[in-house]
Every structure is written in C-alpha cells, then in structure tokens.
C-alpha cells in the first residue's frame, strides 16, 4: 500500500474535533412561497445534522438540492419554515452569534467601488476591530490570498477568482470559530484550489470549524471529515468520508514495481486460491496532482517544499 | 429572413423585459389615474373643464412618458451589459447593430403602447369633463360619470384581472397587467360610444374630440426620440451618468428656443447647439387645441420627419459606439 486511502488528510493527526456541536439543525424545513403565500418550492425538507467543533463538514448535492438554502438558514439570511437551527447554542439571528462566524457566499457580493484593502477594512470595522489590529490583519490576509499588489484596485475591476480571494479574506478577518464557505473554490485556478484546501486543513488543525458546500467532489474528498449529501432537500447520505466511500467487499493491493514474470506468478497464485481473475492496471495520479507537479516544475520549485499559503499569525492554533 | 426573425425576437424580448419592471406599470397606472381623476374633481371652472382635462391628460402623458422612456432605455442596455446577458446574446450569430436596433424597437413598442393608452385616456377624460348640455332630456352642466368611473377603474380592473390570472395560471403579473390595461381601455372607449354624456343609451357615436389625437401622436414621437437618445448614451455610460445627461438634454431642449434659438443668427455656437439639441417644443403643441384649434396632420408629418431624422442620426451614433464597446 502506498498509504493512499479514502480518509481525508485532515483526519490524520487532527485531534481537535470535539463532540460539542457548533451547529445543530433539527428538522429544518424551508418552503419558498409565491406572492399569494402558496408553497412554490420545498427547498429543504426536514433535514437534521450537527457539525462538531474542529471538524470540516461538507454539504454536497446536485444543483437545487438545498445546500445554499441550508447555509443561508444557518446564517439567519432565511427564516426556517419549520424546525430549529442553533449556532453556538444561539439563534442565528442573534448578533452575538455572528461575532465568531466568517462567511464566504457563493458569489462574492463585494462593493465594486471599494478597493480590496478598503473592503477588508470596512468589514473589519463591522467587527469592532481597532485600527492597529485591522491594519495588521489586512496586510496578512492580502498576502495570504496573494493580492498585496492589487490591494488598491477597485474590486469591480477584479476577475472572478480575485474577487473570490477577497471574499475569502473578509471571511477570516475576525478570526472566526466557525467558517462557512459556499463553493469556496468556485472561480479559482487549480493552484488556488489547492491553496484553499490547504488553508482549510490548516485552519481546522487550529481548532476552527468549517462548513463548506461544493460541487467539486475531489475538493470535498480531500478535506472533509464528514459529509452530508442532499438531494431535493433531503439528506440521503451522511457520515465520515472514509466510511461512506469504503467498498468493504473489495480489496486492492498496490505494488511499487513487478516484472512481467513475477506478475504472472502472482496472478496464477491468486486464481488458484480464490478462483477470481483480478483486474490489473497501473494506478494513475489524479489530474490535480499532475497539474500541480507540471506547474511546479515549470516554476522550478519542488513540490514538497510548497508549503501552501502563508497563514496569518492570528489564525494559527492558539 | 433570419435577421428579421432575430430582430423581432430581440425586440419582443426587450419590450417584455421593459413591461415586466414594476416601475413601468406603476407609472402607467399613476398617469391614467391622474388623467381620469382630473375631470371628476374639477367642476365649476367656468367652462374650462374640457380644456383642463385635455391639458392635464396630455401633460401626464408627456411627464410620465419621459420617466418611462428614460428609465427603460437607460437601464435596459446598461443592465444587460453589466450582468453579462449582452455578451451571451452577442456570442450567437447576432450582429451588434441588429442587437442595438432591436433594443430600440422594443423600447419604442412599449412607448407606443403607453402613448396609445394615454391618448385614449385623454380622449375619454375630455369627454367626461363637465359640459353644458341642452337636449330633450337634460339642460345644464353634466359630467359623464359613467365613462369617468369606468376610466378610473380601468387600471385597478387590469391589476385585478392580472392577479387572478397570476393566481390560477402563474402568468407574470406585471406584463399581463400592462396588456390587460391596454385592452380594458380600448373596451371602455368602445363601450362609451353606446351612451351619451348624460349616460343615456343613444345611437353609437364616440363623442370625443378627435383633434386630440395629433397631440398624442406628437408626444409619442417625443418619447420615442428620447428613448433613442437615452439608449445611445447608455452604450458608453452607466445608469447614473446616462440619466444625468438625458435630463440635461431634456431641459436644454425644452429651453432651446430661449437659450440658443434667439441667438442663432448672431452666434455660430448658438446655431450649432440649436441644431444639435432636440427641440422638444415642436412636440408640445397642446395650446394649439385651445378655442377649437386643430393640429394639422401635415404638421405632425413634418415633426415626424424631424423625429425620424433625429432619432436615426442618434441611433447611428449609438450603433457605432456600441460596435466598439467591450461587453464583457
């Protein structure tokens, strides 16, 4: 075995997941109504889930499955039709709850006339951060997301990926305990995606709780401890990633190298013992790894010295 | 044939988008309600009631039409470019010039529909207003309450009908209400012909002052011209500067004769500005209807030519501007 497993990297060595739930959702129902108050769409149909402190929880599902609706109900942007939602034990509409939440929406709804620096400063002020702390954090965050040179350009001139980075930075300015990311890698190039994933893992190791939604299953698989899969407003699968993905009825064995003769001997022995003819092929690396390796070589850097984005000090583990 | 189909599709879509804005229906309803209320509340005005109803109707037509034409034209192209819809359309085999002109055609269609409603309402408002009548059945001042009440109720009836259709069929409320309003006004207009002004059943005759129609047509031409100006400016500017420039052109155009016309003979600058700015006074000739006056159709044709030429020139500039604009 080469150590490849379905367990997310986060689970190895991450001892900070505790059982105390940060988010508690019980029987959440959200029905959108038309002008006449008639039900139009039942976006969320009685889901229940808990997100524990220190874990990365993924919400998956096809378009229209209710992921964003669930997220917005958690943040108080939508009112549940039925059921209850608690964040840090309080109602999501409570102002005190919001001190410890960072949110990145699916689209970066930023003020296009403000520069990146002004945007972060504005949101920092809304958290009541003093000027010195704000300035320090802003510079660190801009460096982390790679926008130091574009910090004084209006956000309206940014590409989607750059706007996403600013959005990510504003979600972290208050050193939140809970970070809610709605499609965090949307619009980012593969390097950016890798950096965001590394960031999430680092934040999680520091004791933060992350709730994310994504269509990109590879991203979720890499980072999440637990996932829930939604379909038409219902949770149809929920649990630890490794447990859900394991095909316990099959076994895979990987060798580093085998000659043709050794291969045939081995196959013959397996056929004798089990009566099965196993499938043989060469494992392939995923496209993301290949892409990153190629880019790294072009840049003249070694892959294993790439330490990912530089995390600001205030976001590191306390 | 393909181009024609593209043109009509885009124009129809533009018109539909325009009438689906809440403000469009609000402005139209407010205009019609004010036009209908005037003859019902202005009584005992020494025989001037008809004139006041007519002038009020035409003024409401002009003022509210300016808002509708300006707002829909300013926001239509700007929003589509801003949210990426324009780039999606232009990535298809649709020429920029055709797209731009189709936008104008759609907006002009909305303006024409609005003007039709307002002109019908003004015709009926004048009929409703208090008049002295001496017939076998009535002697004295009479007000056509029946037609007036129907006219006043028309916007509310249209909204009610659209609400019912929206409830049962899910059809969009705003565009449905707009269409129903036009239909109901035509029906009320036709129905009023069965009755005289005192409300008695009489041989069919519409009993309206048809000479108001040329005034309504002139106002419609003014609104179409303003739409062309606003659309062309919006190819280069965002909503706020577009509206600002349009308001300036409107105000300067209204005062064009006073500011530039009287100096045109002495100053070439004044004569150039006088020629360049649209002279809205050509389109507002409501005073010509006083004391039984008539606006000749030949005048309307001449002003129509002016409007066509001016709009054409402005649209050409707009099309050229749009051709070179980045729409990402």
């Amino acid at each position: 075995m080469n150590g490849q497993s379905n367990e997310p990297l986060a689970s190895s060595g991450n001892e900070s997941v505790s059982e105390s739930p940060v988010i508690e959702v019980a029987g959440l129902v959200k029905v959108f109504r038309d002008f006449w108050r008639r039900p139009k769409v039942r976006a969320v149909n009685g889901i229940s889930l808990d997100v524990c402190s220190g874990e990365i929880f993924g919400l998956l599902g096809p378009n229209g499955s209710g992921k964003s609706t669930t997220i917005k109900s958690l943040l108080g942007l939508l009112s549940p039709t039925a059921g209850s939602v608690r964040v840090f034990g309080l109602s999501p509409r409570d102002v005190m709850t919001k001190r410890d939440i960072g949110y990145l929406p699916e689209e970066s709804y930023l003020y296009r006339h403000l520069t990146a620096r002004e945007t972060l400063d504005f949101y920092g002020q809304l958290f009541g951060l003093d000027r010195y702390t704000r300035r320090k954090r802003i510079e660190e965050l801009l460096e982390m997301v790679g926008l130091t040179e574009s910090a004084d350009r209006p956000v309206g001139e940014f590409s989607k990926g750059m706007a996403r980075r600013v959005g990510l930075a504003q979600a972290l300015i208050n050193d939140p305990r809970l970070i809610v990311l709605d499609e965090p890698t949307s619009g980012l190039d593969p390097i950016g995606c890798r950096q965001v994933k590394d960031l999430m893992l680092t934040l999680c190791r520091g004791g933060k709780t992350i709730l994310l939604t994504s269509h990109l299953l590879a991203d979720v698989e890499d980072v999440c401890n637990r996932i829930a899969i939604l379909y038409r407003g219902n949770i149809i699968a929920q649990g630890r990633v490794g447990d859900l993905l394991r095909e316990s009825e099959k076994v895979r064995v990987t060798f580093s190298s085998l000659s043709t003769g050794q291969m045939e001997e081995l196959l013959a022995a397996i056929r004798d013992k089990t009566g099965d003819t196993p499938d043989v092929d060469h494992p392939a690396m995923d496209l993301e790894r290949f892409f990153l390796d190629v880019i790294a070589r072009a840049h003249g850097e070694r892959r294993d010295t790439d330490t990912g984005p530089r995390l600001p000090d205030y976001l590191k583990a306390h | 044939m393909l181009r024609l189909r593209q043109f009509t599709t885009l124009a129809r879509l533009t018109a539909l988008e325009a009438v689906r804005r809440p403000l469009c229906l609000l402005l139209m309803s407010a205009c019609l309600v004010l036009t209908a209320l005037t003859p019902l509340v202005l009584l005992h005005q020494f025989g001037e009631e008809g004139k006041m109803a007519r002038d009020s109707g035409l003024a409401c037509h002009f003022v509210f039409g300016l808002f509708i034409a300006g707002y829909t034209a300013c926001s239509s192209l700007t929003q589509e470019v801003g949210n990426g819809t324009a780039s999606t359309v232009l990535s298809k085999p649709v020429g920029r010039g055709l797209y731009f002109l189709a936008k104008f055609a759609g907006l002009a269609a909305v303006v024409v529909a609005f003007s039709l409603c307002c002109t019908l309402a003004t015709l009926m408002a004048e009929r409703v207003s208090e008049h002295f009548a001496l017939t076998g059945r009535v002697a004295g001042n009479i007000t056509d309450w029946q037609t007036g009440n129907l006219l006043l109720a028309a916007p509310f009836a249209a909204m009610l009908a659209a609400g019912i259709v929206n409830y049962f069929n899910g059809r969009p409320f705003l565009s449905t209400a707009f269409g129903y309003l036009l239909l109901i006004l035509v029906l009320v207009f036709a129905f009023s012909g069965f009755f005289d002004r005192a409300g008695y059943f009489e041989p069919y005759s519409l009993r309206v002052q048809w000479r108001i129609i040329p005034a309504g047509v002139l106002i419609a031409l003014a609104l179409i011209t303003l739409s062309a100006v606003a659309l062309s400016i919006s190819t280069r500017f965002s909503a706020v500067p577009t509206i600002t420039i349009c308001v300036c052109i409107l105000v300067l155009g209204l005062m064009s004769d006073y500011l530039f016309g009287r100096h045109a003979a002495q100053s070439w600058v004044a004569s150039v500005l006088y020629a360049l700015l649209p002279n809205w006074q050509h389109f507002w000739v409501a005073d010509a209807l006083n004391s039984g006056g008539v606006i000749p159709w030949s005048y309307v044709a001449r002003v129509g030519g002016y409007a066509a030429a001016y709009s054409g020139a402005v649209l050409c500039l707009g099309a050229i501007s749009f051709r070179h604009r980045e729409v990402v």
């Binding site: 939508l78 005190m96 709804y109 504005f122 | 609000l26 509206i243 600002t244 308001v247």
Partner: protein
C-alpha cells in the same frame, strides 16, 4: 465604529459612482446660469431675491429629489445586488445599518448644501461688489434684505362676529338654504369684511394696534412696513401716518409721499420702542379730491420689522433648516428602500411627498376658499355616488396626511430669508425636533423593522 464605517461607505459610494458629481452637474447651471439668465425686476433687491428665492429654491428641489432617490437606492440596491448579505452576517444590528446609512446620507447632503451655500453667498458678495450698485442701493439692501428682522404683526382683526351678523341679516327667513350655501356665503362675507377693513377711502382712517414689547429695545432699529394692493395707483395717494401709544398719541407723523419714497418703510422712533405699551399706527387718508382710495394687502397690510440678526447668521440658520428637510427626506427614502425595490421605492416616496404637499395645499385652499362639498346634488343635478364616495375618501386621506404634514409645512425658511426676515433659533429648533429627529425616528423604526423582518437571501431579491 460600525455606524461610521457604514456612513463612510455611503459617502464613498456616492463619490465613486459619480452620483455626487452628477448632482453637482445639475446644480451648476442653476447656481451659475439662473442668476445670469433671470434678471428679476432690474433692481438690486430683485437681483438678490433671484438668488435667494429662485436659485436657492430650485437647488433645493434638485437636492431633495437627489436625496430621496439616492437614499431609496442606498438600501434597496444593496439588497438587490446582495451586498447586504455580507453585512447582515456580521455582528451588526439592523438599526445600526439603517442609522449608518442615514448618517452617510446626512454627510452627502451636508456636502452638497455647503456647495450650494458657498455658491449663493458668493453670488451675493459678487452682486455687492464695489461699483455694481450705488451707495443708496447698498444701504437699502443692507437694511431691508441682507438682514434678519423679526416680524411683528398687528393684533388680529377677526371678522367672524361681523360676518355672522351680516349672514343672519342676509339669510333672514331663508331657513331652507342648504348648508353648503351658508358656508360659502359665510366665507365670502368674511373675505368681504377683511377687504373692506383693508381699504381706506378718502377722508377715512384706519388704526392698527401692535402689541407692546420690551424686546423692541432701544438698541434695535424698528421700522414699519406697509404693503399696498398691486392695483393701487401710488401717484394719486396723499395722507399721513401717525405713530404713537395710548399715552403719547401722534408721537411721530410721516406723510404718505415720504413713506412711499422710503420704499414703503417708516422709521419708528426709539422713544416708542421698548416702552411696553401697545404701539398705535394710524393712517389718515386725505380728503376726497386730494387722494385716491388706499387699499392695503389683506395678508400683510402693515408689519413691524425689528432688526435682530445679521444676514450671515440668518443664512446659516436657514441652511440648517434646509439640512433638516433633507434629513427627513433621506429617512423616508431609506425606509422605502427597506420595503421595496429601488425604482419602486423612489416612485412611491416621491409620490407620497407630492400627494402630501398637494393635500396640504388643497387643505389650505379649502380653509380659505371652498367649503366641503358632500352633497349629492349640486345645482339640482344628481352627482354620481362614486364621485361622492371618492371625494369622501380623498378628504379622509388628506385629513390624515395633514396630521403629519401640517406641523412641518410652515418650516420653509426661504420666504423669510428672501424678505430679510428673521429665521429664528426657535424656528431652527422646531425644524430640528420635527424634521431632524422625530420624523426620521419614526421612519427609522419602520425601516429597521422591515429590514429585520425581511428575508434578504430570497431568490430574485
């Protein structure tokens, strides 16, 4: 800090979206072009009045519309473009959002008002530049226009009792007269009596009584101003004004010719001011053959004007009142934006202001001129029930709106400013209390509640 962050965001948006620039672009033709284009009546006073009434008035219409439209968009557009989602998930209360936006609007309004104020004051100083007017005109401007004078009106001359008497005489025996007709007749008689009392025929006289006041102190200039009806031929007038008190009748006498030459002003001797006794002002018309009939303006036939303030202070107070007007409009627009989409909010709030002002005007006209017509028959012709119903509904709506509009309708500083009359601190204080605090507080409560209740992440929001 949160309030200031949101407020400065509003200011930055106004500047960077070029809205401020566009409004200044609208103001420049008015501030510069209007005084150049409109010459007034050709006098120095006329030129200054153009600046103070027309230029300032039109500027304020532009600023009012701008404040209303921009404030509607301040919240509504944020909801439509979903910027507000990133704000609401921060620890910010909805009341803080509303207040922050309102404060931002106040700053924008203040900047624009400053520009208008500097331009108007600069225009006045430019008009007063040396060599433009002669000494007499300068002096007249400083005494009569570019100042702040407290107005004292004579004790009211209520015609009601006389009108009742005459009505009874005229309608004696006609008990069947419709109520509407009696009301109409009564109001007509009142107007008639007031007009009679404002008329001084040859050989006649009229006396006005001004309340005694210690505040008309020895240090202040006190002048009597009289206003004649526009139709009066001044060249035919001859008579004399007599000023005095109960104990000192005829303390001063001024001929009508001298008074007319003095621009309809008469100096009140210092000895008569500050005594505390009511001031008696009598005009005695000359005999028939020597003079024509003098008709005074019914509204302000005579008035005392006491110099209390300099022009700059008066102008400052006026601008403060205008600032409070804009504050109230901004609050209304913000609340409308919390409830509706941006263009609908703009339309509805503009319509509300328009209907309120028109309703107030109609109410004033009704009180002065026209009795309420509730009857189903007028002149023997039956009115439509719908028409009667509509009139009743309209009246009820107007009356309800008057409760809100009437307290602030009189808070317009432009007429006194353009007439050299005092805009007092009490006036400014009333404007602050109503327009600066009470009405915005009510609007703010509604807006905050609406924003709190609203689901800001609905699809299509």
């Amino acid at each position: 800090m949160k309030l200031s962050a949101i407020a400065f965001l509003v200011v930055r948006t106004a500047v960077r979206s070029r809205l401020l620039l566009c409004l200044v672009g609208f103001l420049i033709p008015v501030l510069v072009g209007l005084p150049l284009a409109v010459e007034g009546d050709g006098t120095a006073a006329g030129e200054i009045r153009v600046l103070l009434e027309y230029t300032l008035g039109l500027s304020l219409v532009i600023l009012g519309v701008g404040a209303l439209v921009f404030s509607c968009g301040a919240v509504a557009r944020e909801i439509e473009e979903r910027h507000i989602q990133l704000v609401v998930v921060k620890p910010v209360r909805t009341v803080e959002i509303w207040l922050g936006k309102w404060l931002g609007m106040l700053i924008v309004n203040a900047i624009l008002l400053c520009i208008v104020g500097i331009a108007v004051y600069g225009g006045i100083r430019w008009a007063l530049r040396s060599g433009h007017y002669d000494e007499a005109e300068h002096s007249s401007l400083k005494e009569n226009l570019l100042t702040g004078r407290r107005q004292i009106l004579p004790l009211p001359d209520d015609p009601t009792s006389e009108a009742v008497e005459r009505l009874d005489q005229l309608t004696d025996g006609q008990s069947g007269l419709a109520t509407t007709r009696r009301e109409e007749l009564f109001l007509t008689l009142k107007r008639h009596i007031l007009a009679e009392r404002a008329t001084v025929a040859p050989g006649g006289s009229k006396t006005w009584v001004f309340p005694g006041s210690q505040s008309m102190g020895a240090e202040r200039q006190v002048r009597l101003r009289f206003t004649l009806a526009p139709t009066v031929d001044r060249s035919l007038l001859a008579g004399a004004w007599h000023l005095g008190t109960a104990s000192k009748t005829d303390a001063a006498t001024v001929s009508m010719a001298d008074a007319l030459n003095g621009g309809n002003y008469i100096e009140v001797p210092q000895a008569l001011c500050g005594s505390g006794e009511p001031l008696l002002v009598t005009y005695r018309n000359a005999e028939a053959g020597q003079t024509g009939t003098v008709v005074f303006d019914i509204g302000t036939g005579v008035e005392l004007l006491v110099s209390e303030s300099g022009f700059e202070a008066n102008l400052l107070r006026s601008f403060l009142v205008l600032f409070f007007h804009l504050a109230a409009l901004s609050a209304l627009g913000l609340t409308a934006g919390c409830l509706f989409s941006s263009p609908v909010a703009g339309f509805l709030s503009a319509a509300l202001v328009f209907v309120a002002l028109m309703g107030h005007y109609v109410t004033l006209q009704s009180v002065v001129d026209t009795p309420t017509l509730h009857e189903e028959q007028i002149d023997g012709i039956e009115r439509s029930r719908v028409s009667v119903f509509l009139e009743g509904v309209g009246e009820r709506i107007v009356k309800k709106m008057e409760i809100v509009v009437e307290p602030v309708a009189g808070l317009n500083p432009l007429p006194p400013l353009a007439d050299g009359r005092l805009v007092a601190w009490t006036f400014t204080g009333k404007a602050l209390a109503l327009l600066g605090l009470l009405y915005p507080a009510v609007f703010g409560a509604v807006g905050t509640w609406a924003l709190w209740k609203r689901e800001l992440a609905l699809p299509g929001e």
